[in-house]
Symmetry: C2
Subunit: 544 residues, 2 copies
């Protein structure tokens, strides 16, 4: 069996018709949901691209792998999905974005060249790169944002788009008065991107995926990782005007949230992006573009699925659809992600296992508390391996997919956010070390703990599903807070770094030294079998 692990970037959990969006029809997502299991309580380990992805790829919490924000290198030697799957005879390929930054210092210390096979995998998060494109190609006064080459920009140039950076000038820009109308600016979000639709990013990567599928040696795991619907929010025709004001859902927000807000939340209210999304005109421009980008993703997903069907590979391929985090779009007076409301931290997750073992659950939903790190475990399990649970902290979802839900499933979700590199750390006067927050969510109660001396926040999603009432200072709920801190403490004490010894290794090591001549704590030797001591009592020796 193959694994087609498709990730969209910044796709909200609720912007799919199978998840209940009233205006955005995504028949191809729905098609997989109808054949698989849709997990309705799936959360990322960090609501930010880089950290979230490193958790997906390692199966480990952000504070376990340490790459806690975009551009924070993943330490050399940290094991990834690719390491685990290759040990099981399954190749592990990358098509698209990882947001991985190599640990260049660590690699140099260990003498690993990025040009070697081992070095390249270390630098590409354990994947073999079919085509790697991280999808953000900026150039400014200080030079290029991303030093790597952009296969997508090369493609555009080959198609006749001019300039150094057609990604910025065509794929992510419209035209206004014969000038580039940059997609960086929300006011341009309603324009069609100045690019033939088939040359835009999502169709391009879909074509790469089809090319890959046609030649790849089975069994493979392919991480097809789209940059969209991530910003810049601009989409080519006809998607740019498929949605209008009547399709924009009202923002989930209340004036109450602006009264005495938590200082860290307040700092996020004050960001440029939040202030933009607090404006109706911005939402009116951006949300239809965002929906158009998703609609394009869905159409291209259909193209890919049709190809799998046409080539007879649908029955051999597990299909996984997910996202690295959501998008506030103005909910809670916020834009982007970076905080722990559902719009940001919850993700779509649909898994279709073609094997008959999964027949019982086709078309169902599963409300178990699922974490992004569960996918690495799931893939290892699906590929026939034993999950190395001393390394991968997630748990396999296969029991859910097979309709045999385990009895002892986790009781809480942890998600983390490290804002040390952001201006919020300065604005709040916290050190890089303290610029961290953690969510504990048990399915009803969601607590956010902040380092740096701030109070906690608390929401009761049963009575307040929109997360409007912050109960963090409410003495009535101190028992819940204490209980959730208990979970956080338990998680903090987890065994995350004993990665060189499995439980099996440990059990096998018990008592071994005794039979290798290490015999401590004998009073007179009669305590152990004679064979263990005879060497030391059997012969006369020269006296020194």
């Amino acid at each position: 069996m193959n694994i087609l692990f498709i990730m969209y970037d910044q796709l909200r959990y609720d912007y799919l018709s199978c998840a209940g969006h009233p205006h955005l029809h995504t028949p191809n997502f729905d098609r997989i949901a109808a054949k698989g299991v849709r997990f309705t309580n799936a959360y990322v380990q960090s609501p930010i691209c880089g950290a979230s992805r490193m958790s997906f790829y390692t199966g480990r919490y952000a504070s376990s792998h340490g790459a806690q924000w975009n551009g924070y290198p993943l330490r050399v030697g940290e094991m990834t999905l690719g390491d685990h799957l290759r040990d099981l005879g399954m190749d592990c390929w990358l098509l698209g974005k990882t947001h991985m930054k190599a640990d260049a210092k660590g690699m140099a210390r260990l003498g690993l060249s990025p040009d070697s096979l081992i070095g390249a995998r270390q630098a590409d998060c354990g994947f073999d790169a079919w085509v790697r494109d991280d999808g953000l190609w900026g150039t400014g006064p200080d030079g290029d944002y991303d030093q790597k080459r952009s296969p997508y920009n090369e493609y555009l140039k080959s198609k006749g788009y001019d300039g150094d950076n057609p990604w910025a000038d065509y794929a992510n820009a419209g035209v206004s008065n014969d000038q580039i109308a940059s997609g960086w600016m929300f006011m341009n979000a309603d324009k069609p991107a100045n690019i033939r639709e088939q040359d835009s990013e999502t169709p391009w990567l879909t074509s790469e995926a089809i090319r890959f599928i046609d030649v790849a040696k089975m069994p493979w795991c392919a991480h097809v990782s789209f940059i969209k619907p991530h910003w810049p929010y601009i989409v080519p025709a006809p998607y740019h005007d498929m949605y209008g004001p009547e399709h924009i859902l009202p923002p989930v927000r209340s004036l109450q949230e602006l009264k005495n807000p938590h200082p860290v939340l307040k700092a996020y209210h004050d960001t440029k992006v939040a202030q933009a999304f607090q404006r109706d005109d911005v939402r009116a421009k951006v949300i239809p573009a965002y929906m158009g980008l998703i609609k394009q993703c869905d159409d291209q997903l259909g193209r890919l699925l049709d190809h799998l069907e046409a080539t007879g590979q649908m029955d051999d391929t597990m299909i996984v659809l997910t996202s690295d985090h959501g998008d506030y779009l103005g909910d809670h007076w916020l834009g982007e992600k970076d905080f722990f409301h559902e719009a940001s931290v919850k993700i779509p997750l649909i898994i279709c296992d073609p094997r008959s073992s999964a027949d019982a659950t086709r078309g169902t939903t599963c409300a178990a508390l699922v974490e992004a790190i569960d996918l690495a475990a799931t893939f290892v399990d699906a590929a026939g391996g034993e999950v190395p649970d001393h390394i991968i902290e997630g748990r396999s979802l296969m029991p859910w997919i097979n309709g045999e839900g385990p009895e002892d499933w986790r009781e809480f979700i942890i998600s983390e956010y490290d804002y040390s590199v952001t201006p919020r750390a300065d604005a709040l006067g916290v050190t890089p070390r303290d610029a961290r927050m953690m969510m504990v969510f048990d399915g009803r109660w969601k607590m956010i703990h902040f380092e740096g001396g701030f109070r906690q926040m608390l929401f009761d999603l049963e009575t307040d599903p929109h997360e409007i009432n912050d109960l963090g200072e409410d003495t009535e709920h101190f028992d819940q807070i204490a209980r959730l801190y208990g979970y956080l403490g338990q998680w903090g004490r987890r065994m995350s770094q004993r990665v060189t010894m499995s439980d099996t290794d440990i059990r096998a090591a018990r008592g071994r030294s005794l039979r290798r001549g290490i015999l401590p704590f004998l009073v007179d030797g009669s305590e152990v079998a004679p064979e263990l001591t005879k060497k030391y009592t059997g012969s006369a020796r020269q006296k020194h």
Copy 2:
């Protein structure tokens, strides 16, 4: 300046005359204490050789580096003292024991050969090995305990000691009725080891250290790491009969400790070694040998110090004397280490900095709460470096040594113990994952937390300095317990794996992407300096 980092194995904090032992005179330890600072509240990160040492060498807590018991490999790429000091131009040498096990799987995955310089350092815990000898050379029905060569056994053979393993047959055995009387058996502890005193382990390693000092290129850090006074408890003449019954301190224990003991403590009471040390005849045999071994260590320390003085290097060398953990010797009805009473978890620590900056503190003691991980930070600081505090979790002791105690010193000590590989895990019915315990000690209150559902233990060292009364179930002290759990939670949330980004790196990264053409969240572009956007508005383009 050089750093002479001397470690004794299993040396109790209180078996030195400078620390108050009434019968054991250790003038050479005292000589360094008189010239330096003796830290009277120094604790190991784990009361077991391997885990403790990996914490000394990495400057990181046991659950941060993951090598949580003897023989649990230190993961490849984990940075050590050697990495940090070499970056500062100081070589870092090993003479003696580390108890490091290489992460062979991890090294193979990264293509590192143990024969290469990089591979050898990975396998030797970051040190360059002048002479590595882990000091336990057993052979039994299943073969050799340690697969490496033993330079000490080779030395013994060169001196005419016969057999495959003269370490076991001579250095750690006496003679009785012309037969080997193995030092593994406590009943033989009063016999003189069947070896010329100058050929025994401590003088041998001291000679190696002298050889090293005479040729080493300055500046160096040398970890001279003695196996003694670690068991087997047997010592050559004249040390074997220097101490008698009149020098044995009564055990620190009470019958009260045997009433309703904590289940994990009970499991330790039931071990072979504990039961042996509960016997007066065993203590009568072993403790004089243990004291003799320490006395020999002291004499050899004198020899080394004299050599430094004679060669004029005393003024260029920081001298550090410490141990990897203590030895119960029957206290609390226990033997060995493995638990958190002071006899086990507290260590001697004496540091003499020859520089005039340390003159103000010569001959003083310091009662600050010190952890073993502080040494790595201290050495980096002493060598003129900035402590990489995103990697090294300990803190430099130099402010204390220079008499400028910092205002915000730590409020609590953490020590951990992983008993997953021991028969106690089976006896208690806990999984390898839950076979862990953690101590939190704030200088007065010592709490021990146990994974696996056991209750905590609590001691008040102010009213109960001998740690007899376990208050863990005492409702009167639940506020203290909650406070200490607060510390444990704080520690559990520490940032231990963000090792690829220093605070300086993070501060430097702020805002960088904006000047590299990543311009998200602009409404119309007027929000930023024109130079950041002009590329996108300046020229007409072909319309696609």
